[in-house]
Amino acid sequence: MKDRTNQRGQVLVYFGIFGLVFFSLAAVAVDVGRHVFVGREVQAAADATALVGATTLARGWTAGDAITKATTFGSENTVDGHPAATGEVQVGNWDGSTFTLGGSPLNAVSTAPSVTVNNIFGLWTQTSTIQRKAVAAFQGAPQLPLVLCDNTASGGWVAGITLRLSDSGVNTAAWAVFDPQVTTFPGMSVVKSTLPIGCDAGQGWVPPPQTVGASIVLGNGQMPQSLCGNLQPPCSITGQTYIFPVVDIPCCDPNNQPCPLNNQHKIIGFVTAMIDGVHCDSADPLARSIVGHVVSDCATTHSATLCPSAALVR
């Protein structure tokens, strides 16, 4: 009769089971670790491609150009030793939190390249497809604490259109504070400190580049005589060209005063304009005001200095 109390070989069974589990986990760990590493490479390729697309748009080329150039650029970066599949390059609108394909205005590019890797152990599947996404949108580094209203209803801020910040009358610009921590307008003293050196209390402080979708606080129509005087020479803003953010509040009807260019608003784009003059004479028909005109037509110049640039937003 067989001895049923014989326990020989029992440890071998345990060892077999635990060994299988242990080596399986080790194999999964190696493959997952490699996925994470390859994913980082795909992300870098996605970022570079999205930035190419958004920069192309920002420089005034068409959405079609942005897609063509981004797609061509996709093979510049290799992943796992091979070019990643660029995937579909999409052009759309970024509002600060969401990318909308084909939305208006076109200010962002989304990419989702992928790569198929042969797993080292491949316990569950021989190959895996690793995909990463990136969204890049317009950004600009405004050197004056001024923003413009949304002029889309009147055809947009095309070259030659005048802008005006005034304490009365037609007003298409407003003072702004480029600080995401600030949610209510803190007063003109903060704005004055961010003017260029030589202009009122200006410290020459240049705010960090502002991205489409960022919220900023506006203070409209404040142009005291003292500030107006301090914007004259040696303050040298007249004749200078600056990038101005455009915010999501429509330019108001001059017959419907006051123009509500106040409170917190989102940046929807950028415009490059030249300051033509600062008027301080109360008898002046322009009242106390800063007047300028849009110079940049990125569609023809494609200039690095006059057009907005791009930044990764996701």
């Binding site: 590493f37 980082r40 970022d47 930035l51 920069t55 690095a304």
Partner: protein, 154 residues
Amino acid sequence: MRNRRNGKGQAFVELGIIVAVLITITIGAIEFGYTFLALHMTTQATAAGARAASVLGANYRNACGGFVYTTPNHIDAITKLVTSQVGTVATVTNVTVQQCDVSCAPVSGTLPCSVPDMPKVRVTVVGTIPRVVGLFGSSPRAFSRTETFRDESR
């Protein structure tokens, strides 16, 4: 006569074999993990370096947007950024920065521009990743990372 069926010490020998195998596997896992971590960080640092090079300001460039080798030196700036991001995880031995399509000299590198109207900048980082334990006298692993971005300041 010695009893050859005496099992004393057998478990001890088995334990020794198992422990040796487990330690080898564990060290292998640590080495693998560390190498992936270091490669991950160097890839990240190279991408950050290439991005920084693409937006380097006018004081690093000539009138055509080409990098200049005077002070402040763009390669010093990029190398500093890359090595600070890599930290002590790996040893960076060389950082090269290449541009394409710069019409006035000096040009750093001879990178071809594959797409018209789209200047690009490429950063290559080479170095070695040390072994944590160095089982069987294995030497540090050499790595080379390359990232290409659009040269956005041009």
